[in-house]
């Protein structure tokens, strides 16, 4: 069976039936509606975490790592789909360098920070969230910006520092994602993650 669509706008009453609509190139016209994460949020699959105070960050692939990280524990039977990574200076930086995301195993992780359901009361995360851990040397995967050391008098406001990962990084059981800075920063930065948990 071949479905057909019709070119040009229709003027339809509620409850009426109509042909699908296409543009003159044959593309089906679709109205995207609502927030793209609303369905997953309502279903209790969306979670987030943030540092509750500025955090010191370690340098490069240091295994005595600090920052913000989330791990998918071995045996969880879930995949973690990363959607967003946010970061910001709380005070002027004490060094300049790169902000990125790295991945490693789940070794050294524990549920020391509590992941929040994005729909309060609905859903419980399997993720282990930490601000410090002894980890297996991570590998930098994404470059997300630069942390500077300009005085607070040089800019009036900065942002939004939200990296729209849009599901482009999936953390499987036994793996983790951690913040990564090329230089040590001392209680300057705060981070957050937004992710979805689905059956593996």
């Amino acid at each position: 069976m071949q479905l057909e669509s019709k070119v040009g706008p229709a003027d339809l009453a509620s409850g009426s039936k109509s042909q699908l609509r296409s543009d003159t190139g044959g593309g089906l016209l679709a109205q995207v509606y609502g927030g793209k994460y609303a369905e997953a949020t309502r279903a209790g699959r969306m979670f987030c975490i943030a540092n509750t105070a500025p955090v010191t960050t370690t340098k490069d692939n240091d295994t005595t790592w600090t920052g913000l990280g989330i791990a998918n524990p071995t045996g969880s039977d879930k995949n973690i789909i990363l959607h967003e990574f946010g970061w910001a200076h709380q005070i002027a930086g004490d060094d300049d360098g790169l902000v990125g995301l790295a991945t490693t195993t789940d070794s050294g992780f524990a549920a020391t920070l509590t992941a929040r359901s994005c729909y309060f009361g609905t859903g419980t995360s399997i993720a282990e969230c930490v601000a410090t851990a002894t980890i297996v040397a991570p590998i930098l995967e994404r470059v997300c910006g630069t942390h500077g050391m300009g005085a607070v008098t040089t800019q009036i406001a900065v942002g939004p520092n939200i990296v729209d990962l849009a599901g482009s990084m999936i953390i499987v059981p036994g793996r983790s994602v951690v913040t990564w800075t090329s230089e040590i920063t001392t209680t300057v930065l705060m981070f957050s993650f937004l992710w979805e948990e689905v059956d593996a």
Binding site: M1, Q2, L3, E4, S5, K6, V7, G8, Q19, L20, S22, T24, G25, G26, G27, L28, L29, Q31, V32, Y33, G34, G35, K36, Y37, A38, E39, T41, R42, C48, A50, N51, T52, A53, P54, H83, E84, G86, A88, H89, Q90, A92, R116, C118, Y119, F120, T122, V152, T153, T154, Q155, I156, A157, V158, G159, P160, N161, M190, F191, S192, L194
Partner: protein, 201 residues
């Protein structure tokens, strides 16, 4: 029932019937149109609120909170789907701070600020929008910007929109609230806004 499409671009006029179009991998070709929130706005489900003047903000997760918040009162029968949260500096800030978004129990938030229906006159919000209240202990959920404190006018001439598009990734159920967050105390120098949709639970 099997539905077929046709591979390759076509060129057709208004009023003609044509098969659905596929790419060579079999994907349905779809062209988006219209705004993603237009349907909710036209239906009277989309609302916004903004501080009408610069607001002082409390530090961190204080329960004697000030800033801008959208609360969902108990028994409303609605969920609030948060789509956007925006921030702008109005005057030279007195302190540097991270800007974020937190949520917590509604507390005594009232309808101190009026939620504006995105289609004027089409709907009435149930939200309690307030710029200060005693709330239940909130939890910081998102970090997205920094406010600094330039001492003179030799800084940026303008700043790009500082709007966090949540795309519905935060839903406020009954008895809860979404609240602006600043890590440090700040005297009145900035305003916030929220854009949200109200749907039946």
């Amino acid at each position: 029932m099997k539905v077929d499409g046709k591979v390759g671009r076509i060129s057709v006029g208004k009023g003609t019937d044509n098969p659905l179009r596929l790419d060579p991998q079999g994907g349905l070709m779809v062209a988006g149109y219209g705004g993603e929130y237009a349907e909710a706005a036209l239906a009277g489900r989309l609302f916004s609120v903004a501080n009408q003047a610069a607001v002082a903000t409390t530090a961190n997760v204080a329960t004697t909170w000030t800033g801008l918040g959208v609360g969902n009162p108990a028994g409303s029968g609605k969920n609030l789907i948060i789509h956007e949260f925006g921030y702008s500096v109005i005057a030279v800030p007195p302190a540097e701070t991270t800007i974020g978004l937190m949520s917590g129990p509604l507390g005594d938030m009232a309808q101190a600020l009026t939620a504006k229906c995105a289609m004027n006159g089409a709907g009435t919000s149930i939200a309690h929008c307030d710029d200060g209240a005693t709330v239940g202990t909130p939890v910081l959920e998102r970090i997205f910007a920094t406010q600094a404190q330039p001492a003179n006018t030799a800084v940026q001439i303008s700043i790009n929109p500082i709007i966090y598009k949540l795309h519905g990734s935060l839903i406020i159920p009954q008895g809860r609230a979404a609240l602006s967050y600043t890590y440090a105390l700040s005297a009145a120098c900035a305003s916030f806004y929220f854009l949200w949709e109200e749907v039946t639970v």
